[in-house]
């Protein structure tokens, strides 16, 4: 089995509108990440661009449609398509979400939440086994941004993820914005969540922006919108975590209201500074 192996540097989510700027000169970017589903066509500009990026940079392929958190069986056709994309580009890492997005074969196009129970644990672990056996590589599982809770949950999310890792040998993609969003939404302290998180399994970190609204009672409700710079409290959690566990491949995700390349690249440089400074401190 091939293990996830991204450089311990900052990367960005690739957007086709940035291709001319990226291609114009070498970029100080550790890796690019793409959504697998955007590269499931037979050919055309998407593959031409990704093929070129792949020559020059490390690559992370991030699935958004496999529905690993569903209690129904995985879509084998979709898993085969993922295998084709992974075989074609041989990425350093493949990741997916702790969420479901398909029910009765209808694709809902959102990362939907699941209760954390022994039953869902068994089903998620089975699905991850199936993915890792098919792709012949370790996958990373990403913690979700959630807006509500299930009365039937019997496990904490961090317990659930710890047990998934123990049963399947998968790695984790720790999305710190999701931690901040979900912790705020559930009136918990993000630092407590991170203290319980099985950080030894983390092979990649995601950072992104969120927006703010309120729930029925007027309590803060944060939305994982990926449409702004990374917010200060998320940077602070990130810096503290890196100081604790050392450098980890870190992705800036910006999917909506995508800014100019220079703005996105500057966000990545800010993350890279934190990673480099940690290296220096550790060496000293």
């Amino acid at each position: 089995m091939k293990f996830s192996d991204l450089p311990r540097r900052a990367g960005v989510g690739f957007k086709p509108e940035h291709f001319p700027a990226i291609n114009a000169e070498p970029q100080p970017i550790g890796f690019f990440e793409v959504h697998a589903e955007n590269y499931m066509g037979a050919g055309g500009p998407p593959h031409a661009q990704l093929g070129k990026l792949r020559q020059d940079y490390a690559l992370s392929i991030h699935g958004v449609g496999l529905s690993i958190g569903s209690v129904q069986p995985l879509d084998r056709e979709h898993l085969s398509r993922l295998k084709i994309v992974c075989d074609r580009y041989e990425p350093e890492s493949f990741s997916e979400h702790l969420a479901w997005s398909t029910h009765d074969r209808v694709f809902l196009n959102d990362l939907l939440p699941l209760p954390y129970t022994d039953q869902t644990l068994a089903s998620v672990a089975d699905h991850i086994d199936q993915v890792q056996e098919t792709l012949k590589r370790q996958m990373l599982l990403e913690n979700p941004a959630t807006y509500l809770l299930f009365a039937e949950s019997t496990l904490e999310e961090t317990e659930f993820l710890t047990e998934v890792v123990r049963r399947t040998g998968c790695g984790l993609l720790l999305d710190i914005n999701n931690v901040f969003v979900a912790s705020t939404n559930h009136h918990m302290h993000p630092g407590d969540y991170l203290a319980r998180f099985p950080v030894e399994a983390v092979s990649e970190i995601h950072l992104s922006g969120h927006s703010e609204t309120v729930d029925d009672a007027g309590a803060p409700l944060l939305i994982d919108s990926h449409d702004t710079p990374v917010k200060d409290p998320v940077w602070a959690l990130y810096a503290a975590l890196i100081a604790r566990i050392g450098p980890v491949a870190t992705l800036i995700e910006w999917d909506n209201d995508v800014p100019a390349w220079s703005v996105l690249s500057a966000e990545a440089q800010a993350a890279d500074e934190i990673l480099k400074n940690t290296n220096k401190r550790r060496a000293a």
């Binding site: 055309g44 209690v71 879509d75 209808v106």
Partner: protein
């Protein structure tokens, strides 16, 4: 999660009239109406956005509000059956044709068909188009029996409306102006290299290419084309088809 929990969650997502399923909570113990609404909104906005990104000219024609409402109704009746959204909406034109509020805009379904063909061409397999020199090197007596292999990106559309003109004006490819000469226009869509090309077909051209693409001999395709338009010009049409990369081989 039992299958029942997931089924109830999915049903409530699809229909805002369905109450938030039991068993969903928030830290403050309240009914999570607005929290559940975030997921409902994500589903509709995400899928509407997927449709809008495939059909920008159609959206320009009807305006954003009308388009979103029409797309939301399409999503309700024809939800995606695959996470592969690249091809979601291939049947959107057929839906719009029967969508009563859009009936006044008779050309709208054809514009959507043209945009669907562009999307198909964009993601089609990369194959080098046929080199015209190979055809020129053949002895003339062989031409009549030639059969051509269409490029995987090729689509031919026939429309009773000035389809290419309308599409171009609403896709920012041509200036908006009133159409004085409201005539039928056929279109060819192909992507010989990295750019999708849309070309207005000369008289008989669409019938000619359709015949060739379906595997008819060149001589038979010419017969069909002349039946369709007596002014059909073989050498101009063949040169045009080769230039736009309509074919990848002949035998």
């Amino acid at each position: 999660m039992s299958l029942c929990t997931q089924t109830r969650f999915a049903a409530a997502l699809a229909d805002p009239a369905v109450a938030v399923p039991p068993g969903l909570t928030a830290w403050n113990g309240l009914q999570p109406q607005r929290r559940f609404a975030v997921y409902r909104n994500n589903v509709v906005v995400g899928l509407t956005g997927a449709i809008a990104s495939r059909f920008p000219a159609a959206q320009t024609i009807v305006g954003e509000a009308f388009f979103s409402a029409m797309a939301a109704e399409f999503i309700r009746v024809h939800p995606p059956r695959s996470p592969l959204l690249l091809s979601y909406g291939d049947d959107f034109a057929d839906f719009v044709e029967r969508f009563e509020p859009a009936n006044d805009i008779a050309y709208l379904p054809d514009v959507i068909r043209l945009e669907a063909a562009r999307g198909k061409a964009y993601h089609a397999a990369d194959v080098a188009p046929l080199d015209a020199a190979k055809l020129a090197a053949l002895p003339p007596e062989r031409l009549a029996d030639l059969v051509f292999v269409p490029h995987p990106s090729l689509s031919i559309l026939r429309s009773p409306h000035p389809l290419v003109t309308i599409w171009a004006m609403n896709a920012g490819e041509a200036e908006l102006r009133s159409i004085e000469d409201w005539t039928a226009e056929d279109a060819m869509v192909a992507r010989p290299h990295m750019t999708v090309e849309v070309r207005r077909m000369p008289p008989g051209g669409a019938v000619f290419l359709q015949a060739l693409a379906s595997g008819e001999r060149l001589a038979t395709a010419v017969e069909h084309a002349i039946e369709n338009a007596s002014a059909f010009d073989l050498s101009a049409n063949l040169a045009g088809a080769l230039q736009t990369g309509a074919f990848i081989a002949f035998h």
